[in-house]
């Protein structure tokens, strides 16, 4: 008898727990929905008269998103343009850590989300596999228009390596730039080539990326056409360095002092670029086997290198083996190049400058992206 009551009790408790937990789930869901919709609803009613008369400027958008603490960025060195923009409008330099999806933007926990024109923005807008299907209903704030653009993807190596292997560096640049020229002229073919080399994204998105990347390589921050791929534009690089000096504070006092004293000549060397441009394509390479560390996963952001590899440009320039090493999340390309794991790398100017300030020996040899690919994307209905 006693055993039976025990068993009954057990069954009842288990049933109660299951029902309870299920009920709790549904309740929390409806609560969540209520909390997320509630502020939006009050905002719309409050500002309807104003919205009809005036169009919100990007300053208004940023101010509102920053006041509610909902500006997103990935951090890890990608945040300086956003910090500069916040400072431009006199806002506190705080942002939310964005993960490598756009879910936060989708569920409105981030009102003003960071996106690269050639990657996340395409995912937000487009409706192919992995896309969020927003189409043209979203608006963007462009860093180039706001005057806080910083120079992104470049090619760099260590100063020691460049000094010891000048022909190798020039040859690598020559072939890579040729690859980039091809990728800019033929984005569709470039996308296919990238996809072959173990792409992390779908073929459709790859093609979108290749087209957007081509724009970054051939347009400068002012929107003017750039015909010379890889050109190091001193004015744009100086602007990057100036913004960096203003917003990057290195905790190590001696490194910070070195960073503040840094000039363009400390971080870039145009001689290899000139040499590659003037060359007839024949080099006496000192090191026929080289490798390049990407800043991110293999995709059309690095189309030029994959094209050069696939179309045999590296072989023509005298290399027997070129390895393209995938990056991602926590892989520090500066460290990989500095400690000799790889010979070349792709990074952003600020990362290179701050790494050099803290004791690394890196030098930029070409600037692939001529304008900033970073935008802040928002849904206009959140700001009505």
């Amino acid at each position: 008898m006693k055993n039976r009551t025990k068993r009954m009790m057990c069954a009842i408790t288990i049933a109660a727990m299951t029902i309870g937990s299920l009920a709790a789930c549904s309740k929390s869901d409806s609560n969540a929905a209520a909390t997320t919709t509630a502020p939006a609803a009050t905002e719309t009613t409050a500002s309807t008269p104003a919205a009809e008369t005036s169009v919100l400027t990007s300053g208004d958008i940023i101010t509102r998103a920053a006041k509610s603490g909902q500006v997103g960025n990935w951090g890890l060195g990608n945040e300086y343009e956003v910090l500069a923009l916040l400072a431009k409008y006199g806002l506190p330099s705080e942002y939310l850590s964005q993960d490598f999806t756009m879910d936060g933007f989708d569920d409105n926990s981030i009102l003003l989300a960071s996106a690269m024109t050639y990657n996340e923005l395409g995912l937000v807008k487009n409706s192919y596999d992995g896309g969020y299907k927003y189409g043209d209903s979203v608006n963007i704030i462009d860093m180039n228009d706001e005057g806080v653009a910083m120079m992104e993807d470049n090619i760099f190596c260590t100063k020691t390596f460049a000094k010891a292997n000048p022909e190798t560096v020039a040859a690598f640049l020559y072939a890579s730039l040729k690859g980039w020229e091809y990728a800019v002229a033929n984005p569709e073919e470039a996308a296919k080539i990238c996809y072959e080399y173990g792409s992390s994204v779908s073929p459709e998105h790859q093609e979108y990326m290749a087209k957007e990347v081509a724009k970054l390589v051939s347009t400068n921050t002012k929107g003017e056409k750039v015909t010379e791929v890889g050109l190091m534009d001193d004015a744009a690089m100086q602007q990057t360095l100036d913004i960096a000096k203003q917003y990057v504070t290195l905790a190590d006092a001696s490194a910070n002092a070195a960073f503040q004293a840094m000039t363009l000549d400390d971080i870039r060397d145009a001689s290899f670029y000139t040499k590659a441009k003037a060359s007839d394509g024949k080099f006496a390479v000192e090191k026929p086997e080289v490798s390049i560390q990407l800043k991110w996963l293999p995709d059309a952001q690095f189309a030029g290198y994959y094209c050069a590899l696939k179309l045999g440009y590296y072989t023509e320039a005298g290399f027997t083996d070129v390895k393209i090493v995938s990056g991602g999340g926590d892989i520090a390309e500066t460290t990989a190049v500095n400690n000799g794991t790889v010979d070349f790398g792709v990074t952003w100017e600020t990362n290179l400058a701050s790494a050099d300030a803290s004791g690394m020996d890196l030098v930029e040899i070409a600037q692939i992206f001529q304008r900033s690919g970073l935008v802040l994307v928002y849904k206009p209905e959140n700001f009505k």
Binding site: L76, G104, S109, A251, A255, T334
Partner: protein
């Protein structure tokens, strides 16, 4: 007497005499670890360590450099350390409490309860790097303030890890009782409640400390790892990551040192608490 002593054996060698000396035994407990510490400082600071490990002062900065960065940025480091400690502390308390309650439940109703022990045991075997991003997404609706919701998600991860540890250990403490004492309780016709209060719980106290010895350092480690995935950028672990990716190794080392200090201090506190509490019970 002297003659007898001579017959028994040779005088003890110096090493043995020193070894048996009470005051040396006491002193050596302090002196030897201190000497080891000094030795490490010495080989680190003279860069002997760097040549053995085939590294440079950029990757492994000298101690005085790490110290000066910690001193220069003490405000920022303190704020980050407090955030990490909050997560570890609250998670540890909540997890240990949860684990202990499950253990009591399991001890009182063995047939039902043992299953729940397996369940939290299974939770603890999920790697933190897998659990943290999941919980981070899961807690998005908790609060509109990112600081609050990332705090909650981090605490939940620590709670789950600590609960398993406490549950499994406390269960042993509550059930592995000296046979005669359990028999005696049944002779006295003691109720289950009384057996729990007078016998099971006091018996479980040493086991609780065994669990804590593992879960105090584990809570700090878990807090540090779960910070990697949080929305709000704060905490000692997150700063280590940010600084390493930005190639700021000396700053990263300053935070690594901070993490070590936090871990050691927490362990010292635990040992002190154990000495005081266990004296009272036994």
């Amino acid at each position: 007497m002297a003659a007898v002593k001579k017959k028994i054996g040779r005088p003890k060698p110096l090493r043995q005499r020193i070894g048996e000396n009470k005051s040396w035994q006491k002193a050596s407990a302090i002196v030897l670890p201190l000497a080891l510490g000094l030795l490490i400082v010495l080989i680190w600071q003279t860069e002997l360590l760097h040549s053995w490990l085939d590294t440079d002062t950029f990757t492994l900065p000298l101690m005085d450099k790490i110290g000066s960065i910690m001193y220069d940025n003490s405000d920022k480091i303190w704020a980050n350390a407090v955030d990490t400690l909050k997560v570890a502390g609250i998670g540890l308390a909540a997890g240990s409490l949860l684990g202990y309650l499950v253990a009591i439940f399991a001890a009182l109703l063995p047939r039902l309860g043992q299953g729940s022990l397996y369940v939290i045991g299974a939770f603890a075997s999920i790697p933190v790097v897998a659990m943290a991003p999941v919980l981070n997404n899961w807690t998005k609706d908790v609060s509109s303030d990112a600081a609050v919701r990332s705090m909650v998600s981090k605490i939940l991860v620590v709670t789950l890890i600590c609960a398993a540890d406490m549950g499994l250990n406390a269960y042993r403490g509550l059930t592995e009782i000296k046979l005669y004492s359990e028999d005696m309780m049944s002779i006295y016709a003691a109720k289950k409640r009384v057996v729990l209060w007078k016998l099971r719980i006091p018996n479980s106290i040493p086991y609780v400390f065994t669990a804590l010895k593992v879960s105090v350092p584990a809570s700090i480690m878990t807090a540090i790892v779960s910070e990697y995935f949080a929305e709000k950028i704060t905490g000692v672990g997150r700063q280590i990551r940010e600084n390493i990716v930005l190639a700021q190794y000396s700053t990263a080392w300053a935070y690594i040192a901070t993490a070590c200090v936090i871990g050691i201090l927490a362990y010292v506190l635990l040992m002190a608490a154990q000495t005081i509490l266990l004296k009272r019970y036994h």
